[in-house]
Every structure is written in C-alpha cells, then in structure tokens.
Symmetry: D3
Subunit: 136 residues, 6 copies
Amino acid sequence: MATVRLWSDAEVEGDPAVKAVFDDIRRTRKSDFVNNFWRGLANDPAQLKRTWESLKAIMVEPGAIDPLTCELIYMAVSATNNCSYCIHSHTAAARQKGMTEAQYGHFLQIVGMAAQTNALVTTMQIPVDEAFQVNG
Amino acid sequence: MATVRLWSDAEVEGDPAVKAVFDDIRRTRKSDFVNNFWRGLANDPAQLKRTWESLKAIMVEPGAIDPLTCELIYMAVSATNNCSYCIHSHTAAARQKGMTEAQYGHFLQIVGMAAQTNALVTTMQIPVDEAFQVNG
Amino acid sequence: MATVRLWSDAEVEGDPAVKAVFDDIRRTRKSDFVNNFWRGLANDPAQLKRTWESLKAIMVEPGAIDPLTCELIYMAVSATNNCSYCIHSHTAAARQKGMTEAQYGHFLQIVGMAAQTNALVTTMQIPVDEAFQVNG
Amino acid sequence: MATVRLWSDAEVEGDPAVKAVFDDIRRTRKSDFVNNFWRGLANDPAQLKRTWESLKAIMVEPGAIDPLTCELIYMAVSATNNCSYCIHSHTAAARQKGMTEAQYGHFLQIVGMAAQTNALVTTMQIPVDEAFQVNG
Amino acid sequence: MATVRLWSDAEVEGDPAVKAVFDDIRRTRKSDFVNNFWRGLANDPAQLKRTWESLKAIMVEPGAIDPLTCELIYMAVSATNNCSYCIHSHTAAARQKGMTEAQYGHFLQIVGMAAQTNALVTTMQIPVDEAFQVNG
Amino acid sequence: MATVRLWSDAEVEGDPAVKAVFDDIRRTRKSDFVNNFWRGLANDPAQLKRTWESLKAIMVEPGAIDPLTCELIYMAVSATNNCSYCIHSHTAAARQKGMTEAQYGHFLQIVGMAAQTNALVTTMQIPVDEAFQVNG
C-alpha cells in the first residue's frame, strides 16, 4: 500500500490543475490509461506538472537518443536502484516500443555483467587509468 | 591505491595463463593498452579468464543490441552503482564507439530523470499497476 | 515472510530479558503496540537491547534536532536505502509527530531533487570545489 | 577529473542561455561563486535551466519545510547515495544556514542509526505491520 | 510477478540446452527442486549455462573459503543490495549448510554494524589512513 | 578532506571522555595506532563511546562466528555499500587476521557473482519460491 492517496479519475476531474496534466498525459500517450505513479504525484499539483513536463521533454519528444534506447537506459537505472514499480513500468514501455525478447536477453546480460564488474572494481579499489582521464 | 597488486607487463609475460588472456584482449581490441581492471584481476587467472570471456561474449561479439547502446546501458548501471572507475572507462568506450555530445547530454537527462522518479516512487511506495503485470 | 521468527506477546512474556525491553518500548511510547521489527530482533536479546537503547537515545530523548526533523532525516535515509518497512514505519511516525501533507509534499520534492542531482554529479564525476573543502 | 568539460566564466559569458542561468544563480545566492556542478551542466543549456529552476523552487523559495531542514534532508539522501560532491556541498550549505556542531552530531547519529536498522530490517525481511498501512 | 516467463518442467524437457543445465543443477544439488531464478534465466540458454557454471565453480566446488562462509558472504552482499529473493534463497542455503541461530544472530549484528559505520564514514568523508594503503 | 575535524593525539589527551575510549581501543588492539574513523567520531564523545562498544562486542569479543569470517562479512557489506574507507580498513584487518591471497581471490569471486545474480533477479523480478518461505 502506498504512503499517499492515489487519485481516482473522479477526484482528478474535480481539480483543474491535476486534470490539465492528466489530459496531457492521455493526449500524448494516445491512451486513457494513467498509471499509479501520476495518481500518487497528484497530491502535489506543482510537482506533478514539473515531473510530467520533464519526463515528456526527455522521454517522449524527439531527442538525440532513439525512444527504445531511452527506455533501456531508464530500465538499467531503475533495476540498479531496485525500484520494482519502475522496472515493471519501463520494461512494459520498452516492449511496447518494440523491444524483442532477444534484445531483452542481451539487456539482462549487460546489466548482470556491469553489476559484477562494478562490484569487482569497487572491492579491489582499482585506480582510474590515466588514459580514461580525458574529458569531453 | 588498490587493495590488490596491479600486474605490470613484465609480470604478465611470466605467467602463461594470464598472458593468454592479455594477448586476447590486445588482439580483440586491436590495441596494446590493457587497463588496470585486468591488471588487478590477473591475481586470479581463472577469474580473469572467466570475466574476460563473458565480457567479450556480451560486449564485443555481435548481439541483439548494437555496441553503442550496450555501452550506454553499462554506463547507466555503473553510474547508479557509483563505480567511478567504470563510469570513466565506459564513458571513454562510448565516445570511442561514436557517442556524440548531444547523445551524452540526452543520456545524462535520462539518468537524472530515472533517479528522480525511482526515488519518488520508492518514497511513496506506489503499487504496481495490474496493467504492467503481464510478462513475456 | 520474514527469515526469522516474529515473537508473539506470549513468547515475550516468557523471556525476562526480552520482556524488559518490550516493557520499556511500551512505557516510552505510551502505547501497547510493539511493531514487527522488535519482534524479529527478539531472537537476539543483546542486539534487541542495544538497538532499542540507541534508538531511544537518538530518536526519543531530547536532542539538538527536533523530533519531526529527526523523522524526516530517518525517512530520507530509509527511502534512499529502499527499505520498504522503514519507509512505512517512519512515515507513520512523522505523521504522528505532526508532519502536514504540505510538509510531506515538500519532503518528496527534496528527495526526488537530491536523487536526481546525485545521479548527475556522479555520472559527470564532478570534482569537489576547493571552497567546500573547509571542515568543521 | 570530470567526464565533461567544466565551463570557465569566460566561456559562460559567450553563451547567452548559459549566462542567463549563471546570472540568476549569482543573484539568488548573492554571491559570485558558482560551483562546479553548474559548470558541468552548462554543456546542456536546457538541462542546466530545468535543473536550476527546480532546485530554486524546492530549496530556495519559501516552502513548508524550513531551509536548514531542507539541507539536512538533502544531506541524508546524498550521504546514502554516497555522492561525495553532494555531501561536501550540502554540508557546507547547511553550515551556512546555521547548522550547529551539536545538530551535525545528532544528524550523524540519525543517519548511522537509520542505516543500521534499514540493514537489519532488510536482512530479516520484516513484513510491514498492518498498523502502518494507512495512507494519507 | 516476474517480467519474464518462468519455465515449467514440461517446457524444460522440450529444450535440450536448457534441460542439460537443469539436469546438472539437479545432479549437483542431489535434489529435484529447481528454484525460480533458473526458470527465469531459461529464456536465454547461453546466459543460463554461463551463470550456472560460474555459480557451480564458485559456490559448489571446493575452494579456499568453506561452503558456509561462502553463503554468509553471499547473504551479506544480497542484503546490502536489497535483493529480497536472494536474501531468502541464500539464508535458506546457509541454514541447510549448518548455520546455527547463534551464527545467524552474530551475522545480523555484523551486517547492521557495518551498515552503520559505512554510513558514518561516508557522511563524514573520512580519508583513508596511510597505514591501510599497503596492497597485497 | 573530511567534513569534520579529525582529532590529533594532543586533542584527545585534553578530553577525558574521548581519551577513555582511545585508551580502550589501544589496549584492546594492542597497538598505538588509532585510525581516522575514531578521530572523526571524537567530535561526539557519546556516539564515539556507543560505536566503539558495539564494535568491540561484535567484532572483537568471542562470538558464534570466527574473527576472520566476521571481517569477510564486514568487507562484503562495505564493498556493496561502496565505502572506500571501510573497504581499505577491513581488507587490511582481514589480512592481519590471516586472510590468504587464495581466500581473498575466492572472496572477490563470490562478491562479483552475488552482485551479478542480485542484478539479474531484481531486473527479472523473480518471485520468491514457496520452498524458501520457511522461517527460523
């Protein structure tokens, strides 16, 4: 159970600021379904608006990285942060954006490999090679 | 400073099992440079071999995900795990594989956004929507 | 399900060392309710006593930080550590100590913002400014 | 060393979008000093603007939580995320906003206690008490 | 619910590559029971084989560290990574390998203590003593 | 640089409460060397005393787990929490208590393997088998 109230559609209808964001989510995603994350954020309309606008700018509008790769990066962060909800929602989103099972298998291999080498490097406290210390 | 000895090229030359892996790293990467991670792993030749073979299979050989996207996923995990060494080495690798500064900017936006929404979801303990609970 | 047995009140009654701690928890909190955490720790009476005495000294007895702020800090750590149980119990405690919904909304904003900037800083490996390197 | 270029004041002067944000940071903080985080974000003017505006709304403008408590929450998240840069910058900010050494001592006690009980709860997989499952 | 399909025994029978690994798991563990982790990995036979072979080499075959201590280390990592599944499976494995309740109690004390001092050290940003900077 | 002052021996001499703890550390460890962690904690004598007494009870006094295994568990938690200081100090302590390089190699293998399987399990959201849900 959440630590906050999840807004029903009826409650959303009664609050113009929240309704405006929900309408934009539905329009943008071309779907009536609005997931629980936004229903929890609705308790703070300013935070709801700021979060949706950032997410839309970063994950929906055309950018330098294609939409499926965006989801794979989001999944990688969410998995490493152990956010069960986010793993479920972004794995679903990736599949909707065309992730094949072969790609998902490769993704899992990379995430497991990175977690392993991260742990080995950290435990051995390997110093950064000079060759890597050249920035942008 | 590392908690293990980092093997010099001279030491590598004197151990056939370690040398075989270092030779394959050099051949595969078409470069003489072998970074500190492998020089630390060299203390355990079996672990060195197993780790390199997995990494080669997952990150070098052709797979369902293209090489640059593989690096972006690796970077996302490494950043979230706070592995300074891995962030440096895989950001360098991504640039070598063609990551543009616009792509890196977009990558940073996604990593920041995911970390933020992960934290919000976790703090509010949002329950997973039924709609997301449909597996492969 | 827990990996340890959670002690019932009847079991607590039968062990004087555990009972002494449970009695003090009830007296201190002016409530009969003793939550599952202590029922799990009861398997190790010495650890139970040490943990309760530290918690009481830090979170109950008057200190330099007021009780509600103490809970907000506890919540921030628990959320970042992804401890579902601790998020629930300390959010409830904060509400009991007077946290308003406006304060909770602000808290969520800060936790999300901090998680985002932490991730950005770590991914970019920003070096600490000299100006910050002046200690107490 | 950062994985991105840190913008010098001269470079900032040459980019109106970046300069506008830096000017607002200086005006808002009543100080000429702009720390490295913003100099790294400057590589992506849109992200720089969005991040500063969110931070200003959440951490500078009057809100339901007082400025010093905001910093303590930010420090707690940053410490738990192991963000060395953020720990340094927000501990400095908290001291500037009046954090006493007694308060800092109490803060450390809470952060250590929370980390300990988080670990105990997670290792024992303690189930959430029904009493805590009452939301907002 | 998992984000992948968990293979039933009937499905395993129909795929020789997966069956070979499951047969070896059953033979090695002298038990018919194969837990869900392997049923999820079965979707990628190469990853299944590689993971089982590494696990067998590290956790089953005789090594420099005795089997129970191996499990305690595995449990410590899994608890700190907050992997609920892994905490359950490796705590069960440790008990099967002879972990007493007194040892489990001591284990919990160490995990809690380490989490606490890790948090204190990180928050205070304590620099590594020269005395500790002598590697292998 | 630390965010707190690290107490010199001269300062310790001038504060009886701090001196009493430092004297006990030296006596217990049969060594004059007191590492930086305690010099940082010295700013809060009550926290210093409580932390040392817990550490001594858990890590020094005879318990159900032998001293070297205690250090391996401590190292595993510290590595997973990415506490550089703690990794260095407890790896040094483990070597002092007799950890061989073969044992350290095996330890690294386990830590890497656990991190990898933790990540795979979490990403796939594998449900806990009923067989594991039998507690103490």
